[in-house]
Amino acid sequence: MSDTHVVHTSEGDQELAPRDRSSERELLLETGAVLRMSEADAAKAIAEAAGTDEETFLLNMGPQHPSTHGVLRLMLELQGETVLRTKPIIGYLHTGMEKTGEDLNYLQGPTNTTRMDYASPFFNELVFCLAAEALLEVEIPPRATWIRMLMCELNRMASHLLFLATNGMDLGAVSMMLYGWRERDLVLQFFEKVTGLRMNHEYIRPGGVAVDLPDGWQDDVLFILDALPERLEEYDQLMTGQPIWRDRTQGVGAITPEEAVALSATGPVLRSTGLAWDLRRELPYLAYDEVEFDVVVGTYGDVFDRYAIRLNEVRESMRIVRQCVEKMPPGDYRVQDKKVTPPPRARIDESMEALIHHFKIFTEGFRVPEGEIYVAVESPRGELGCYLVSDGSAKPYRMHIRGPSFYNMQSMPHMLHGGFIADAVAVISSIDPIMGEVDR
């Protein structure tokens, strides 16, 4: 009897029974966030519950759904409109890319990895090439490094503009969708001019980049940099200050820094909680220690913070791109090591050696010394890593890509717990998952 304790609330003092009087199921409903039930059991539970007056019910959201950002299926345990526990079910886009990677040589490898995170393809190519080059122990010329950095930061801008577009539309600001695509198209047109493709470029290759930047590229980039700031101000006005937007995003899907680190979340999800962890600043790669930029950090770990971080990261990326335009060094765009880089096509007519190298590189591929390595870059979604095991042959023995969205998805049940289904749309959108790298 004396186990009860009194809580002072705004409606007067309330007496609470001791916690051990709650059944295990009630405790789970109150505190549990992750639903761990196999799909077969869940299907049975859904079928049995139909027509009964159960307190909670299971609902499938997806895999075909306008707001689940690709083929993501969420099994939600709902009590009314409140989400209790969630199970994200993935694998609908699994195409065995890691197995395919074991069958392609290192020159073909980027064509495979680039399609994993298809919204930021340069990063996938970059991480694979950095891993291969680290095992090869070749030094990349400075111009190639700066070109890679330029393309990656432009890609970050394009990916975050895609986020702004889809996030806006998911939360009701439908015109944001078109504005985001319009800006993203400027960047994609520049990519087409340089690499020949708007997406999935296979531009970053082991040894450097495929071709040099075309003449007049500075003007094209500066055109983008001049057009964007004003448009970003417009989006700030359209969304950030708007009361409906704030109501739908502030305080929704909050996560603490300890939870984020424990759940291996990286990128804007981790930075929204207040931890200023950005691989470009903390463990720099390429030439990020030679450019000035700020790391954008949130405070509350909610949807609004993640939106604001990505909006401001576009501005920071513009700063980096401007510095790339100013500081681009002259020189080679790929390493001159004949065993790694194919010779220029014109040389094949003149030199036997060039012909043989060309033949060997494009049929067998170049061999990479035996070893294993893990390399990571900061993609728009978080830490994108590549664990590469080589057996001395021309094809990777094992290629594993650590896709940041795969890990960020683990925080999703914890963000959704206790919210409404409508908040689920906001939360999924704020994590910005790309199912290609979740499923590979």
């Binding site: 694998g91 065995g96 990286t266 070893g371 990571a376 890593g385």
Partner: protein, 175 residues
């Protein structure tokens, strides 16, 4: 002991392999790699977490069935599978790797879920792709493949799969 007449290599005392937290450690391109046996796996990861490696960045596995020969430090017996864990220290800005040898006969490894809840989905992926069982995992079911799939795709003896193609000139199926 040193041979000063010629340039031959000096015969040194045998050097014990380096150790960290009681298990062999090697350096792989600037990153320390620890090789605990399965019995010491949890203890080593916990010791690393206490040292500051708070985030488990990646859990994956490799099937060394058709590998010609990998370099392992002395005293580490080579098994068919290896579970590879990459850890990150945010304050120390440092990475460390843990590689556990997993025998083919009994591919069971303790789960890291209690130490790092963020290993829930990657361990499911390793189970799905390689068939390595994680003791203590709360929900060890397939994640990428359908739940009723048989076989473990990333094993080296699981064929990559081809669609048979009929070529007009030759007739019959392609490779």
């Amino acid at each position: 002991m040193a041979d000063t007449e010629t340039d031959e290599v000096v015969e040194e005392e045998p050097v014990a392999p380096a150790e960290r937290h009681g298990v062999p450690v090697a350096a792989s391109r600037g990153v320390a790699v620890l090789f605990p046996p399965i019995e010491d796996y949890l203890r080593v990861v916990e010791a690393l977490r206490d040292e500051g490696f708070a985030m488990c960045v990646d859990v994956t596995a490799v099937d060394y069935l058709t590998h010609p020969g990998r370099s392992l430090p002395e005293g580490v017996p080579a098994e068919r599978y290896e579970v590879v864990v990459n850890l990150l220290s945010l304050e120390g800005r440092e990475r460390v790797r843990v590689r556990v040898q997993v025998p083919e006969a009994d591919p069971t490894v303790p789960s890291l879920f209690a130490l790092h809840p963020g290993t829930e989905t990657p361990e499911r992926e390793v189970f799905d792709m390689f068939g390595i069982v994680f003791d203590g995992h709360p929900d060890l079911t397939r994640i990428l493949m359908p739940e009723d799939w048989e076989g473990h795709p990333l094993r080296k003896d699981f064929a990559i799969g081809r669609i048979p193609v009929q070529f007009k000139a030759t007739g019959g199926t392609g490779k």
